[in-house]
C-alpha cells in the first residue's frame, strides 16, 4: 500500500545539515593544512560510520546479534586490494609469489562494489546454517566465522591470490582522489570528501531501506519474532536478506578501511575490531542511524586525537600531572564506555534519528501517516 509521503520539516532540516557538513568538509580541506589530525579522524570516522550503521541494521533493527563484522570487512578489504593493485606494482607486492596470479587491475568504484558483493555472497553461504541459531549462539558462531576467514586468507597455499599472510599495499587510496596539476602539486583536495560521499550514499540507501516495508518487517522481527511470523513475514527470508545487506555494506566499509590504512593485512581484522564497532553502535544508541554516525566520529576523534595527550607526560605550571603515561588514554576511554553502557543505556540518540528531533512537535499528527 503506497502512500504519498509528505516532505516533513525533519527531512528538510536533515538535508540542510548534511549538505552543510559536506560543504564544511570540502572547504576546510582546501584551506587547512592537509597534515592536520582532523582529516585522519574524518576519514576513519566516515569509514567506521558506515560499518557501524551496517552493524546497527543487523543488531539494532533486525535484532540479530552478529559479531562477524570484522570477517566481512576482511573479505571486502582483500577483494578491493587484490583487484586494484596496479599491474606494474604486483611484482613488488607479491614478492614471494612471483607477482601473484591476478594480472589485471580494476577501477576503484567497480572494485568497491565487488568487495561488497563478495562479502554478501559469503554472508549468504554462512547464513544458511547459522541464521537458524538463537541470539548468543548466533553471536558466537559469527565470531567464529570471522576467525576462520582470517585463517583462510592467511593460508600460504592461497598466497598467489591473497599474498599469504603478508601485507597488500600500493593500491589506490583516498589520497589518489586529490586532483593534481602537471607538476604533481595538489590543486583540489578531495581525499576527505570521497570517503564522506561513499559512506553517505551507502548510509542513505540503508536509511531508505529501513523506512521501506522491508525495513518495517525487520523491525517487526526484532520486536517479536513469533508475532512477526504470525503476521505473515517470512522469517528466514528476511533474516537472510538483512544479514546479506549488512554484510554488503560491511564489505564496502572494509574496502574503505583498506583505502584509509594504505595497506591491508588479515592479522588486523580481529574480534577486537568487531567489539570496537559494537561499542560504537551502543554508544550511539542501538536502533539509531544518526547515533551510529555521531558516535563513530566521537569514538575515532577521542581515541586517535583528543585523548592522545593522556599518553604523554604533561606539566602544568611546573606540576607534573600524575598517572599520565602510555596506555592511560585507553583506561580513561574504557571507563567512559563502561559508564555509558551501565548508566546511559540508550546511548547518545536512543532510537531517535536526526529528523525525529525536528518532527517531534508534530508527532501526534504524524502517528497515523
Amino acid at each position: 500500500m503506497k502512500q504519498k509521503r509528505k516532505i516533513t520539516p525533519g527531512a528538510v532540516a536533515t538535508a540542510v545539515i548534511v549538505i552543510a557538513i559536506y560543504a564544511a568538509v570540502f572547504i576546510s580541506e582546501q584551506f587547512l593544512p592537509p597534515t592536520s589530525m582532523l582529516f585522519t579522524v574524518l576519514k576513519k570516522g566516515a569509514t567506521y560510520a558506515l560499518v557501524a550503521v551496517s552493524m546497527n541494521l543487523l543488531n539494532g533493527f533486525t535484532g540479530l546479534f552478529s559479531l562477524g563484522q570484522a570477517g566481512f570487512m576482511l573479505i571486502g578489504a582483500y577483494t578491493y586490494a587484490v583487484l586494484t593493485i596496479p599491474v606494474s606494482q604486483r611484482a613488488a607486492v607479491y614478492q614471494y609469489y612471483d607477482g601473484g596470479i591476478i594480472q589485471f587491475a580494476l577501477p576503484v568504484i567497480p572494485a568497491i562494489i565487488l568487495a561488497g558483493l563478495l562479502a554478501a555472497l559469503c554472508a549468504l553461504l554462512i547464513g544458511l546454517p547459522v541464521l537458524r541459531l538463537k541470539s548468543d549462539y548466533l553471536a558466537i558462531a559469527t565470531l567464529g566465522f570471522a576467525e576462520i576467514m582470517r585463517s583462510i586468507f592467511q593460508w600460504d597455499k592461497l598466497g598467489p591470490l591473497t599474498n599469504g599472510s603478508n601485507m597488500l599495499r600500493l593500491f589506490p587510496t583516498f589520497n589518489d582522489f586529490n586532483i593534481k596539476n602537471a607538476d604533481g602539486e595538489v590543486v583540489v583536495y578531495l581525499s576527505t570528501l570521497i570517503p564522506f560521499l561513499i559512506s553517505g550514499v551507502c548510509i542513505l540507501i540503508i536509511v531508505l531501506l529501513i523506512r521501506s516495508t522491508y525495513g518495517r518487517a525487520f523491525i517487526a522481527i526484532r520486536d517479536d519474532e513469533v508475532a512477526a511470523e504470525a503476521m505473515g513475514i517470512n522469517l528466514a527470508h528476511h533474516k537472510r536478506s538483512a544479514f546479506c545487506i549488512s554484510s554488503f555494506f560491511a564489505g564496502v566499509g572494509g574496502a574503505m578501511l583498506a583505502m584509509y590504512m594504505n595497506s591491508v593485512q588479515a592479522k588486523s581484522f580481529t574480534s577486537a575490531m568487531t567489539y570496537e564497532i559494537l561499542l560504537i553502535v551502543v554508544i550511539g544508541g542501538i536502533g539509531s542511524v544518526t547515533g551510529s554516525c555521531l558516535s563513530s566520529f566521537l569514538f575515532v576523534a577521542c581515541s586517535e586525537w583528543w585523548l592522545r595527550f593522556l599518553d604523554q607526560k604533561q606539566v602544568i605550571g611546573g606540576w607534573e600531572v600524575p598517572l599520565l603515561r602510555n596506555g592511560f588514554r585507553l583506561v580513561v576511554f574504557s571507563i567512559i564506555i563502561m559508564i555509558v553502557v551501565l548508566f546511559f543505556r540508550k546511548g547518545i540518540m536512543g532510537d531517535k534519528e536526526l529528523w525525529d528531533l525536528f518532527n517531534r512537535k508534530k508527532k501526534k499528527e504524524g502517528a497515523q501517516g
Binding site: 597534515t35 589530525m37 599472510s165 599495499r169 583528543w306 602510555n326
Partner: protein, 383 residues
C-alpha cells in the same frame, strides 16, 4: 559537532604556532606496547640517551633544542597509520623508527605524503625502503641477515636440516625465513618452515615438529613476546637442536629466559657490548640513574643492540639537520643522501638507490646460559 571541531581546530593551530620557537622536533615512531613493545622501548632508550647527551643542535647558525615526539604504533599495522599521522600533525622534521618492518611499511605512505623523511633503525625488510625516496635505514637487510645466518648454521654449526618458524602476517618474520630458506637450500640443506597465528603461547607442538623432522637448528625470527616462550618451552622439552635467532633475539629479556638451561642459542646482531666503551659506560650510568629507563630496559643495565642503533639513528638525524641547514623536512630529506656518520655500531652511509645503509658484516653471539650474558662468537659476512 561542527562547532566543537572548529573550536578544537583553532586551538590546535594556535598551540602549534606558539610552540615553534627555536625547537626542532624529531618524531619517534616506535612500538611502546604490543608484541614488539619491549624491543621498541629499548630502541627508544638509545634515542633518549643520545638526546640526554646532546640535547641541542646547531642548524644554519642557530642553536635549536631537540624535542623527541613519541607516537606508539602498538606493534600493529592497523594502528601505525594514525600514529604516523599524529607525528606529521606535530610538525616533525624527521622521523626515527620503527622496530619491526610491518609497521614501518604501513606508516611509510603517510610520511611520503607529508614529505617527511624517515630513518629506519632496525627494520630489516627490503620493502621498507624499496621504491621510495623518503625512507632511509641504518641497519642491514633481510637478504643479508638471512644469508649470514644460513651460512653460519650450515658451515659453522654443520647443520643440514633447519626448522623455521614465523608469525603469520609479520613481514619481518616471513621475510627473514624466506631469505634464510633460499640461502640454506642454496647451500644444499633442507628447510622445513611453518607459521603460527598471532597470539600463540603454546609452542610445544612446533618444537615437537622440529624434533620429529630431525632439525639441527630451530630458526624463529619473531617478536620478543614469542621468543621468551619458545626459549622456555624448548628448555622444558630438553631440545636437542640449537636455537637460531635474528637481531630481535639480542635482548636481555631473552638471555634471562635462557639462563640456567642447557640450550644452545645463537643470534645475529648489530652491536656487541664493548664495541664502543665510552657509549657503554655512558648509557649504563644513565640507566642506573633513571629508574623508568631501567624498567624499560627490562630491569638491568645490559645494553641491547637496538639501543645502540637508536643512539646512532639520533645522531644521523642531527647530522642531516646540520647538513640541511634548515628544519624543513624536504631539505633534510635531500641532505640525508650524503650524510655519513661514524657510529657506535660502525660507519653509516647510504647507498644512492633506496637509501639503505652500506653494511657487510653482522655479529654472531651466543648465550652463556650459566652466567646469563651474551658472548661474542664471530663476525660473519655473506661469503
Amino acid at each position: 559537532m561542527k562547532k566543537i571541531l572548529s573550536l578544537v581546530l583553532v586551538l590546535m593551530l594556535a598551540l602549534s604556532a606558539a610552540a615553534m620557537a627555536e625547537t626542532v622536533k624529531i618524531g619517534v615512531f616506535e612500538p611502546a606496547s604490543g608484541d614488539s613493545g619491549a624491543g621498541g622501548k629499548q630502541e627508544m632508550l638509545g634515542m633518549q640517551y643520545a638526546n640526554h647527551e646532546t640535547p641541542t643542535v646547531e642548524i644554519g647558525g642557530t642553536t635549536y633544542d631537540v624535542e623527541l615526539v613519541y607516537a606508539d604504533n602498538g606493534s600493529s599495522t592497523d594502528k601505525a597509520p594514525s600514529a604516523a599521522q599524529s607525528l606529521v600533525a606535530e610538525g616533525v622534521s624527521v622521523v626515527l623508527g620503527s622496530y619491526g618492518s610491518g609497521v614501518s611499511i604501513a606508516g611509510s605512505p603517510i610520511f611520503a605524503d607529508a614529505g617527511i623523511p624517515a630513518i629506519g633503525v632496525t627494520c630489516t625488510n627490503p620493502q621498507v625502503t624499496a621504491g621510495n625516496k623518503h625512507y632511509f635505514r641504518i641497519c642491514f637487510l633481510d637478504p643479508f641477515q638471512g644469508t649470514v645466518l644460513a651460512n653460519y648454521a650450515y658451515k659453522e654449526l654443520g647443520v643440514t636440516t633447519a626448522y623455521c618458524l614465523a608469525e603469520l602476517g609479520n613481514d619481518y618474520d616471513v621475510g627473514l625465513v624466506h631469505y634464510f630458506k633460499e640461502a640454506f637450500e642454496g647451500l644444499g640443506g633442507t628447510v622445513v618452515d611453518e607459521t603460527f597465528p598471532t597470539g600463540t603461547s603454546d609452542f610445544t607442538s612446533y618444537l615437537s615438529n622440529a624434533t620429529a623432522m630431525g632439525a639441527g637448528v630451530f630458526f624463529a625470527p619473531c617478536s620478543i613476546a614469542y621468543i621468551t616462550q619458545i626459549v622456555a618451552q624448548a628448555a622444558s622439552q630438553n631440545a636437542a637442536f640449537a636455537l637460531l635467532g635474528s637481531d630481535t633475539w639480542d635482548s636481555n629479556v631473552v638471555i634471562e629466559a635462557a639462563t640456567g638451561t642447557n640450550l644452545k642459542v645463537y643470534v645475529s646482531t648489530f652491536y656487541q657490548e664493548g664495541g664502543a666503551p665510552e657509549f657503554d659506560s655512558g648509557i649504563k650510568a644513565w640507566l642506573n640513574e633513571d629508574s623508568e629507563a631501567m624498567t624499560n630496559n627490562g630491569g638491568n643495565d645490559m645494553i641491547a643492540a637496538v639501543s645502540a642503533m637508536g643512539y646512532d639513528a639520533y645522531y644521523v638525524a642531527l647530522e642531516a639537520l646540520k647538513a640541511a641547514g634548515s628544519t624543513d623536512p624536504k631539505a633534510v630529506n635531500d641532505a640525508l643522501w650524503n650524510v655519513t656518520y661514524d657510529g657506535v655500531s660502525g660507519a653509516i652511509a647510504f647507498e644512492a638507490e633506496n637509501g639503505d645503509a652500506i653494511r657487510d658484516t653482522a655479529y654472531i653471539k651466543t648465550a652463556n646460559t650459566a652466567d646469563g650474558v651474551w658472548e661474542f662468537v664471530t663476525v660473519q659476512g655473506v661469503e
